[in-house]
């Protein structure tokens, strides 16, 4: 296997973990929603690496597209900031 590509995949997984921590700590729900969209996009890249293009397409369409839309509508109805 190409070691450069493996290194890049490791970099992507670091982005994945850091993004999850940012979503968890964020009080701004808009940041959390957009962060989860980015995480879905990276997860779909990982599905592509694992040779599951069907799942990658579904993850990109549902996780990065539709879920973001539904959550944005829900956020608009409820409020942007999480209060303690």
């Amino acid at each position: 296997m190409n070691s450069l590509i493996l290194f890049m995949a490791l970099g992507l997984s670091v982005v994945l973990i850091v993004g999850t921590i940012i979503i968890y700590l964020s009080k701004d729900l808009l940041v959390a929603i957009l962060g989860s969209a980015v995480i879905s996009l990276i997860a779909s890249i990982f599905f592509l690496i694992l040779q599951a293009p069907d799942v990658a397409i579904t993850e990109a369409a549902i996780g990065a597209g539709l879920t973001t839309g539904i959550l944005l509508y829900a956020m608009k109805k409820t409020g942007r900031y999480e209060d303690d």
């Binding site: 592509l48 690496i49 397409i57 579904t58 369409a61 539709l66």
Partner: protein
């Protein structure tokens, strides 16, 4: 300035990774398959005629599960519609969408619809299928909802498409029961693999599912928008 530079570098990095992954072979899936998986991979094309084996598993070998999934999705959409039905909100002043957004979405929308249709029509040849295609179409509608002020598809037409497609799916399944003595069996000629008109009823089922999921998800988004 520095933040923009970092953002540019990160997006270039992601783009390069995506580009290079297409051409790199990872040693996944090289272990010999056993049991039912081996049967699918060896006889899938011969038995069902679809070059995308995943599709023939989803729609034919495990077709009953897919019917269950479609039912779950239908129930979820119906439940959401039921909860949000009484919550019609009065029109309030919304910020005007910018000219760029309005123009771009106007020209992008037909392309998104075309891409979604491409995914479900070619479900038996390339990765994808009815479910992702329906979601892609619904995302196109979502884009129009947020960027165009006077864009509201008919709710009645959406429900009618959804119910009609769902009924048609069950009828196709019963056709298999009547003609081949097995629910959702492949009753149409298989044709030559790798052609658009091949694989028997798989394209038919995926076109039905594409319409159903697309109208269902658009209905969910429309309910949420109007609530």
């Amino acid at each position: 300035m520095i933040r923009r530079l970092i953002a540019l570098l990160v997006s270039l990095y992601l783009g390069y990774i995506l580009y290079s992954f297409v051409y790199v072979h990872f040693p996944f899936g090289e272990r010999p398959l056993r049991g039912v998986a081996a049967h699918y991979v060896e006889n899938g094309i011969k038995e069902e005629g679809a070059t995308n084996i995943v599709t023939s598993i989803v729609t034919l070998y495990r077709g009953f599960d897919t019917l269950g999934e479609v039912t779950v999705l239908f129930l979820a959409a119906t439940g959401l519609g039921l909860i949000l039905a009484g919550m019609k909100r009065e029109e309030e002043e919304k910020p005007e969408p910018t000219l760029i957004m309005e123009t771009v979405t106007k020209y992008l929308f037909p392309l998104v619809l075309l891409f979604g249709s491409y995914i479900f029509i070619h479900g038996h040849l390339t990765p994808g299928g009815g479910f992702p295609a329906g979601v892609v179409i619904a995302t196109g509608y979502f884009m129009m909802f947020i960027a165009q002020r006077s864009f509201t598809p008919s709710e009645y037409l959406l429900s009618a498409t959804e119910s009609f497609a769902g009924t048609l799916y069950v009828i196709v399944g019963l056709l298999g029961l009547a003609l081949a003595f097995s629910f959702l069996d492949n009753v149409m000629p298989l044709g030559i693999p790798n052609r658009v008109f091949s694989a028997g009823i798989i394209p038919v089922i995926y076109i039905i599912i594409g319409f159903k999921v697309g109208s269902e998800m658009t209905g969910i988004l429309l309910h949420l928008k109007e609530a």
